[in-house]
């Protein structure tokens, strides 16, 4: 390993890349738009606009 020129810079680069990666995610999460999050988390369960059968809720829900 010592045979590579400037090998000592590799771990430093790795650490910087690593820390930067998580800082970017963190900043993104702190600044992210609340409306976006609200919309996204409801995406799978929002009522499909029109369904040809009425079965969007829970499988065993008592039909009223």
């Amino acid at each position: 390993m010592q045979s590579i020129d400037g090998i000592s810079v590799y771990p430093i680069i790795s650490l910087v890349v690593f820390v930067l990666f998580f800082v970017v995610i963190l900043v993104w999460m702190l600044k992210v738009d609340k409306k976006y999050i609200k919309k996204m988390e409801n995406l799978p369960i929002e009522k499909e606009e029109k369904n040809n059968f009425n079965n969007t809720g829970d499988l065993y829900e008592k039909k009223v």
């Binding site: 390993m1 045979s3 590579i4 790795s14 890349v17 990666f21 998580f22 995610i25 993104w28 999460m29 992210v32 976006y36 999050i37 919309k39 996204m40 988390e41 409801n42 995406l43 799978p44 369960i45 499909e48 606009e49 029109k50 369904n51 040809n52 059968f53 079965n55 809720g57 829970d58 499988l59 065993y60």
Partner: protein, 706 residues
């Protein structure tokens, strides 16, 4: 805003579901068979196609790529269009994807029992099938990206991120690990050798677990768990952090499969460090899944679907805590090569994959068949059978793994091994093998109940093949932005970013291992295999010996006492592919060369119990009857030469003669000792190979066979 009408293709979802169920039953049936072979070797039936060494890859491939694979596709073809409010890009591509994948599975089910294998775990299929997998995977990719591009929903839900990362990473893994040079239509040699091959293989193996068994299932969890619970995921922000940190960290951890091996130390440490870090995103995901049910736990009591999902997510949490613990060197020293690892993977496969699949199917099938589940009670019985089966399975394997490992390491007062005979440690754990097979059978019965239940449900309802839906198109300016710059448009852009993120770890590990010569110190006395030994090695691969025997002596006193000098990286430089193995159901073979006379091997292969009473190894009488096929020998030498093995130029012409000469020496030795062995039989080649193993570095090499 004008609503646009379109429809969802439910037929493809049903087809993948049925395929998953059918192959799931087959794969688990084979699992129960091989589990039983370990306490009743008679169940190998002395039929080559049914021996453990050939059946075990069939089991793993069937469960991973057929059962789980088809379930992934079913879930994606259901959730993707609904999340994007559009129909799948191309129905034709969907059909090609479906039938292509099933053909690949059938090809695997035929070729693996025939002994056509590369020997690399979870990548055993030979090169023509590898190419077919690549093509079908591309079809799947086009269909998925195409669907994303023509979506009506501006944003991609986090589940889709997981699908994209799955696609791109599996593509990279499969291609890099499958680089091989064909010898014939059914035989190839890995491009890499020894330590490098091991590193690539376990980078693949580890990340196949990550990106075939984990990320797609996390995508499914983020869609189907909120669906089944009818409430949004606990924290969408957490899911974003979960996604990016998981795909970034996972790829680095591969070397933890090679701790204490001949792999350079720095790579081993890297694997350990990143494995520990992986706890954070994994548990973030688990917590996100479980907390989605906050305020709905009362329904978990009632609803079998939620029960399955809760246990699945819990199993994910357990397995992803256990994994990093197993990556600690001191724990790994005990657990590696034992049944502990088998327990670990089955908590993941049966718990996480199996139970999430069950929950998803119980939810999905009634939906697309416009009916209710045939029997909720039966689903509950399935749940308890499965859970009980896992408890039996895992506890038996933990017990046997730890017990056997401690026996391997036990020294007596005289400083000698307490159990010098390996077989003694095996016979102690046979009762555990029986319990394990019982647990597996319980789990399988549960699966059969599910198949019956879902079949009844399908018959009671009617498939809504094309489910009508409508949605507003994307805003005009959004649409223009994307169609004008579709290359930089989000899906492709996203795909590239995740590609870069997953490549970083692999590159950091690979480049030094491949470029730095000092990582693999060469040993002058290590020479290429003779043609006969090479043929013997290919028989070893054909019979799948590496499924039960390792070729890697770790630097522990308990191992050097039992097997001999520990293994050096430089000893494997001509091993295309490497054969280190990952499980010691039988003893390590790296130093078996010269340990026993030829006669012992002959009789042992004919009937292992004649030499080792009580042995669990199946007999291999066909090796004694079959004539060795030497038609490919010159070609094999040529391929090895182009891979860098230093056979002299033109040696391929001389190879067959050399092979015959060496074979006659061994045959003569056997005849002298009273067995009527012909030099042209397969057993001769196998003996030649076994006698060569690990002797190159010995001071006084055994030369009689060379």
């Amino acid at each position: 805003m004008q609503l646009e009408k379109f429809s969802y293709d439910n037929k493809i979802v049903r087809d993948f579901t049925i395929a998953s169920l059918v192959f799931g039953v087959v794969g688990m049936l084979v699992g129960v068979l091989i589990a039983s072979q370990l306490f009743a070797p008679e169940l190998n039936f002395s039929i080559p196609f049914l021996t453990f060494g050939r059946m075990r890859p069939l089991h793993t491939n069937a469960v991973i790529f057929a059962f789980v694979g088809n379930a992934i596709f079913a879930g994606i073809y259901y959730s993707l269009p609904r999340l994007l409010k559009t129909q799948i890009f191309s129905t034709l591509l969907s059909r090609i994807h479906f039938w292509g994948w099933q053909l690949i599975i059938v090809a695997a089910a035929i070729s693996l029992p025939l002994g056509l294998t590369t020997s690399k775990e979870y990548a055993e299929l030979e090169w023509p099938i590898d190419i077919a997998i690549t093509l079908i995977w591309v079809v799947f990719g086009i269909n998925m990206i195409g669907t994303i591009i023509k979506r009506r929903e501006k944003h991609m839900y986090v589940a889709i991120w997981f699908y994209i990362a799955t696609w791109v990473t599996v593509a990279v893994l499969h291609i890099v690990n499958s680089f091989e040079l064909p010898v014939s239509l059914f035989k190839s040699y890995s491009l890499y050798a020894g330590v490098q091959d091991a590193l690539v293989q376990w980078w693949y193996g580890h990340n196949a677990v990550a990106f075939f068994l984990t990320t797609p299932y996390l995508g499914l969890m983020y869609y189907f768990l909120p669906k089944a619970a009818n409430r949004p995921v606990y924290s969408y922000k957490l899911s974003i952090v979960h996604f990016w940190s998981l795909i970034f960290l996972y790829i680095w951890a591969g070397p933890h499969h090679l701790l204490y091996s001949a792999l350079p130390d720095w790579a081993q440490s890297l694997g350990t460090v990143f494995s520990i870090m992986l706890i954070a995103p994994s548990w973030g995901g688990m917590i996100n899944g479980l907390l989605t049910l906050r305020g709905a736990w009362d329904r978990v009591r009632e609803d079998p679907i939620l029960k399955f999902m809760v246990v699945a997510v819990t199993a994910y949490g357990m397995a992803t805590f256990e994994g990093p613990m197993l990556s600690l060197k001191n724990v790994n020293a005990i657990a590696h090569f034992t049944d502990w690892i088998v327990a670990h993977v089955h908590v993941g496969a049966l718990g996480w994959n199996g139970f999430l699949t069950a929950g998803m199917f119980y939810w999905l099938i009634p939906k697309i068949f416009k009916t209710e589940l045939y029997s909720k009670k039966m689903a509950n019985v399935h749940f308890w059978l499965g859970t009980l089966g896992m408890v039996f399975y895992a506890s038996a394997m933990y017990w046997s793994g730890v017990a056997q490992s401690l026996m391997w390491k036990q020294f007596n007062d005289m400083g000698m091994l307490q159990y010098p005979n390996f077989l003694e440690t095996v016979l102690q754990i046979v009762p555990m093998y029986i319990i394990r097979a019982f647990g597996g059978t319980l789990y399988l019965v549960g699966i059969l109940l599910m198949v019956y239940n879902l079949a009844k449900t399908m018959m009671a309802g009617k498939l809504v093949a094309n489910e009508e839906a409508e949605a507003a198109p994307m805003h005009k300016e959004e649409k223009e932005k994307i169609s004008h710059r579709w290359l930089e448009g989000k899906p492709i852009y996203f795909l590239l970013v995740s590609l870069v993120v997953v490549l970083i770890g692999g590159i950091v590990e690979f480049i030094p291992t491949f470029l730095v010569k000092s990582n693999i110190p060469t040993i002058a006395s290590v020479k290429p295999y003779t043609p006969l030994e090479l043929e013997g090695r290919d028989l070893y691969i054909r019979e799948g010996c590496n499924n039960c025997h390792s070729q890697l002596v770790r630097p522990f006193r308990s191992e050097t006492e039992r097997y001999g000098e520990y293994s050096k990286a430089g000893e494997y430089v001509y091993d295309h592919p490497f054969l280190w193995g990952s499980k010691r159901t039988g003893p390590d073979l790296h130093r078996v060369g010269g340990k026993y006379p030829n006669l012992w091997h002959y009789l042992h292969m004919e009937d292992p119990r004649s030499m080792s009473p009580g042995s669990l190894m199946p007999p291999y009488p066909w090796l004694i009857e079959n004539t060795l096929d030497i038609s490919l020998t010159p070609n094999k030498i040529n391929v090895m030469r182009s891979l860098g093995v230093p056979y002299p130029e033109g040696y391929d012409n001389q190879a067959t003669d050399d092979l015959m000469k060496q074979a006659e020496v061994i045959a003569l030795d056997l005849q002298k000792n009273g067995v009527p062995a012909d030099p042209d039989k397969e057993i001769i080649a196998l003996i030649a190979y076994l006698q060569r193993l690990g002797i190159d570095i010995k001071a006084k090499p055994v030369t009689e066979n060379r």
